[in-house]
């Protein structure tokens, strides 16, 4: 791990960790804005820190670790789109407001169809929503829009259906919009993958801790090899997925297909680890009081957000076929 990444991770973990697991939305959002998470990737001349994808990766893995609520992923997409909107009048003002934490949100579903947006986090509190349509990316004010809350199994995320009425500000058009849409999708996939791996790491740690304290048959569960082997497998798959994550997060050439395959992989590792975590916790793992279900539900939601494994693995297969032919 680079020292920069390790330092940023430690600082972020400290900041987010203080609020505990699945904190309240306001608490969490304050931390996100106060620690400057939203300005990490913004170029310096636009008032940001210019830290790029690796820093974004750190933020999302740490948000995933604590099951932080809030629209951080969506907000970063808006910020990225604003950064790209060179000629937009009043851009700096919008960007400053977004970085300061005024909620501007976006859909986390894979294909945005102009007109109706699904899986939009915290839309009820948002001033704007990003709309990525055919040949156009725009930022639409939410006054007057139809916003329908969709209760999710995952209590740590609030999602809405949104039907904007206005046209909004055009951020990019034509080929530029298509290119931007690709970049936004890539960024979303990376963020979701980070969320998965942070969450997987946290629940694995909690599970190992539990196995060390829970006693049955006069010994800690951690002494049973059948259980040790399961967590060793989880650790192994997680380590490989993490290595892939940082590899692709720092590879400027990694495009939508690579990040989609990464997201699919990370989500399947997350899901497998949360499933085992419930099982290894026994009865307590199946209760609402305990944290296992929070991770399990976030993992299954992450698996579908941004496109599911069926979709991305097929894309990866096609890409690998093409590559093998070259």
């Amino acid at each position: 791990m680079s020292t920069d990444r390790a330092e940023l991770r430690d600082a972020t973990r400290k900041a987010f960790g203080a609020a505990g697991l699945a904190p309240a939305l306001d608490t969490s959002w304050n931390t996100v804005t106060e620690m400057g998470a939203l300005m990490m990737a913004v170029p310096e001349d636009l008032g940001g820190l210019g830290l790029g994808r690796e820093a974004v990766g750190v933020i999302h893995t740490e948000l995933g670790r604590t099951l932080a609520p809030g629209p951080a992923i969506a907000q970063m997409l808006v910020i990225e789109a604003l950064c790209a909107a060179d000629g937009l009048a009043g851009r700096q003002d919008l960007l400053d407001r977004a970085i300061a934490g005024e909620i501007m949100t976006a859909s986390l579903a894979r294909a945005d169809a102009w007109g109706a947006l699904t899986a939009v986090p915290d839309a009820d509190r948002a001033s704007h929503v990003l709309v990525v349509g055919e040949g156009r990316v725009s930022l639409v004010p939410l006054e007057g829009a139809a916003i329908t809350a969709r209760e999710t199994w995952d209590r740590t995320r609030r999602l809405f259906d949104v039907r904007p009425t206005a046209d909004g500000l055009v951020l990019a058009q034509g080929a530029a919009a298509t290119a931007l849409a690709g970049r936004l999708e890539a960024q979303m996939l990376l963020a979701l993958a980070g969320d998965c791996l942070g969450g997987a790491d946290a629940i694995l740690e909690l599970t190992i801790e539990y196995l060390g304290t829970r006693r049955q048959f006069d010994r800690p569960l951690a002494l049973f090899q059948a259980l040790k082997h399961r967590v060793a497998d989880m650790k192994t798959w997680l380590s490989a997925a993490e290595a892939l994550f940082w590899n692709r997060a720092t590879d400027a050439a990694a495009g939508v297909a690579e990040l989609g395959a990464l997201k699919a992989h990370a989500a399947s590792v997350y899901r497998a680890i949360t499933e085992d975590a419930v099982q290894l916790h026994g009865g307590i793992g199946l209760t609402m009081e305990h944290h296992c279900h929070l991770f399990l539900k976030r993992a299954t939601l992450n698996a579908t957000l941004g496109g599911d494994a069926d979709y991305w693995e097929e894309q990866a297969g096609r890409a690998a076929l093409r590559k093998a032919a070259s």
Partner: protein
Amino acid sequence: MTDALETLRHDVRAWLEANAPKDWRATCTSHEGFLATQRGWFAKLVEGGYAVPHWPAEWPGGGQGLAEQKVLYEELARADTPRLLLSFMSTYHAASTLFEWGSAEQQAKYIPRILEGEIWCQGFSEPNAGSDLAAVRTRAERRGDVYVVNGQKVWSTMGQFADKCLLLVRTRTQGAKQAGLTYLLLDLKAKGVTARPIHQIHGDEEFAELFLDDVEIPVADRLGDEGQGWAVAQSTLLSERGLTLLELSARMRGALWRIADLIRETGREDDAGILRDFGRLATRIDAACALADQFLANRIAGHERVGDASLVKLTYSRTLRDFTSLGLRLAGLEAQYHEPIVFGGGMETGNWMADFMNSYAWTIAGGSDEVQRNIISERLLGMPREPKTWTLAGDAA
């Protein structure tokens, strides 16, 4: 990919076009053919400077960075060159143990000969010391300037073709099992050594049993001190579990075309299920490669933790099983008709049933998957170790 790496890829590709053995599948149908091909190919690689890129820079062909090595290994697989099965132990296990533990004299004596083609094997396992490696019983008694060795080793890869052997022996029976071990360098031509090949499930004989009957090994051929054998053996095992895997995982990625070819040959380019399995495999291979890279980068930076190598090996062994299983599945009934295996193809012979069976070499050899899981849970995750209630059987003295 940087320009320098692109240039390297181009150079390696051109060099391989001119130098890679093309008919090795045909010539490797007998052991004589296998040995000749492997020796010839290794000599070519030494000459081209591509045989030991992972060695330190002061040795000919050494000093390549991780990125450069990966490019080389991917191209070697892409060009369908045979893996260096015969010299693999020499260039990895033996060399890295000698680099770490060998005296200047020992290095000067043994390392150049590896480049000249001397073959090493590893004599650790015994019939009753497999996963429990510290239980080795092969006895070495010091008599003046020599150790006199008696015992039996088993599963020594390439043991029947090797010149030298990394030998783990017992010099003391009292006390902790590990503390009584010593590491010797055995000349397999020495009097009293008998090597007997063993038939593997795919029909080939890649490993052998070694019988040692009053074999004399000079004390000068001991690595580390007497009683330090366990620590020295850890170097060898670390090399087997971590270092080798940069090459093996990069080669696995380079060999993905084998499955791509099968998908096309069987007309399944649009079969979504197959595409997904292939996409998942390709991503997992990338993850295995990324983990191996990270391991080596940490190792070079001095940040390696005990157990990290086990993560790398377990990832590789499981991914290799996935790779060969998908090939076997795609090859269908054809793969079930017996085709004699091409000796020395390693894991990528294109004979899917053989490749599949060979993948067990990685889930069993070098510490089985279960042993890696023990190490990961106990060393990396800090879980409690098994209580030790057993003593070495027959260890009354």
